[in-house]
Amino acid sequence: MTGTFHIEIQKAHRRHDIWICLLVSMIMVVWVGGLSPSVPDELANAYSALFYSIPVINSIILPVFMALLASRLWDMEIKGNTTKLLYTLQSRRSLFKGKVIFGVMEIFLTVFMEMGAVLLLGKIHGYTETFPAGQFIYLAVCTTAAGLMLFFSEFFIMLIWNNPLPALCVGIVGALLGLFSAFMPPIVSYFVPWGYFIPLSSYEVAKWDQATHTVTYGTRSFNWGLLAFTFALAALFFYASWRRVQKQEV
């Protein structure tokens, strides 16, 4: 278990994966921070605003980012022509396990740093709204779930074509669809997994004052059903990927 993960870490040498993971949270800090509020009124519901916009940002960035993680993870084996050598030294299960652990760790790291960025933003800009701990955890879980689901779906696509192009294209098109689905009737968004970040989100716009351009946010109940479905989809793609690795000719 640790052995195969350790080997994946060795393979990741000089690939700067950590920096790429860090990039996601940096974008958030810069993007949200750059457009950050400064008036007391807005600081008073700044966390709400942040928690409302994070899922939107995620649905733009993460489908492509997950395609990036998943495709890189397998692309090095393709470029190096290594699977047939590896399968003489380790079982398919062992290689798959290494990849999965490594990929999941990267997702955890990304989510962890993204959530860290939330705390950082709150600190830097001095948000006056009470920190919503429950919402914070819910958001972290939802981001992880949707991230895992996207990661395994992209990994599966990568395994089918053995080429990062389709996975990246699906990521980009998916992100576009996901983002659009957010502005469509809620039912539509349930059919667009790339955008699940948004229907999973528990924040919504309660009131938008067109004259003063001020937005008041409200919360809605946690979407447990969709969260469970997201995990189920992740499991499905995980299983499909594993079958693919098992069956793949080398």
Partner: protein
């Protein structure tokens, strides 16, 4: 020599699944734009202009750079894989010609996509939104400006994909580039950053023209960035030599 390179690059794109992107992204963008326009008629009162913003907002902010990045990364991946580098560098072609050929091919594809966007926009405007008359002539200028700004993004992505031996990383960076473009625009640096140029040119997110009166500066910025990217590419290619 350049011409032969272009022919070669064109051939590399044949029979590649990349064409799917070319159709899919604009169609999705148009479908959503039209839908959103029709849903918000009470706010969006500027007819063709309003439809234009709906059609091109997300497309020009995030997905156009990513799409161009896919084209660019695809063309360089072919060189990064195997030993093409050595063959190319050994062939009697100036390295910059190779870069320029890729630029021409990607630009051609991107401009075709661009045209397709406009076609869809007009079609949706007439068929679904039942807008009177034809799109204002000004909008085709927006499109042209957008195309000019796009050239700088294309050159930048080609440099990135040449440097980074990964397919996915430059594509992701393009998406981030789009975001950086929004930020630069919001801070008033739209003309100083290549990824904002296309957005500014398309005039996708404002009802009034962002470039009002600033055409000369805009064009100058596009040209300067384009030249800068070509010079950078030339330096890098010379340094790279047959090392790969």
């Amino acid at each position: 020599m350049l011409k032969r390179c272009i022919i070669a690059e064109n051939r590399k794109l044949h029979a590649s699944p990349i064409w799917v992107m070319f159709f899919l992204l604009p169609i999705i963008s148009a479908g959503y734009g039209t839908f959103n326009y029709l849903q918000n008629l009470e706010i969006l009162k500027d007819k063709w202009y309003s439809l234009w913003t709906q059609h091109t907002l997300f497309y020009s902010m995030f997905f156009f750079p990513a799409m161009v990045a896919v084209y660019a990364a695809y063309l360089w991946r072919l060189e990064h894989l195997g030993h093409n580098w050595n063959i190319i560098m050994a062939s009697p072609v100036k390295p910059l010609d190779l870069f320029a050929a890729k630029f021409v091919v990607v630009a051609k594809l991107a401009l075709l996509t661009h045209g397709f966007v406009f076609l869809l926009y007009t079609f949706c405007g007439k068929t679904f939104a039942h807008l009177p008359g034809w799109p204002p002539i000004e909008l085709s200028f927006f499109l042209l400006r957008g195309a000019l700004g796009a050239l700088a993004v294309i050159a930048a992505q080609l440099v990135l994909s040449m440097l980074i031996r990964s397919f996915a990383v430059p594509v992701f960076l393009a998406l981030i580039g789009g975001i950086s473009g929004i930020l630069a625009s919001s801070k008033g640096f739209a003309l100083l950053w290549p990824y904002s140029l296309m957005q500014a040119g398309m005039n996708a997110n404002k009802s009034k023209d962002v470039l009002d009166g600033g055409y000369g500066l805009f064009i100058a910025s596009c040209v300067i960035w384009l030249i800068a990217m070509f010079i950078l590419a030339d330096i890098l290619l010379k340094k790279k030599d047959v090392r790969a």
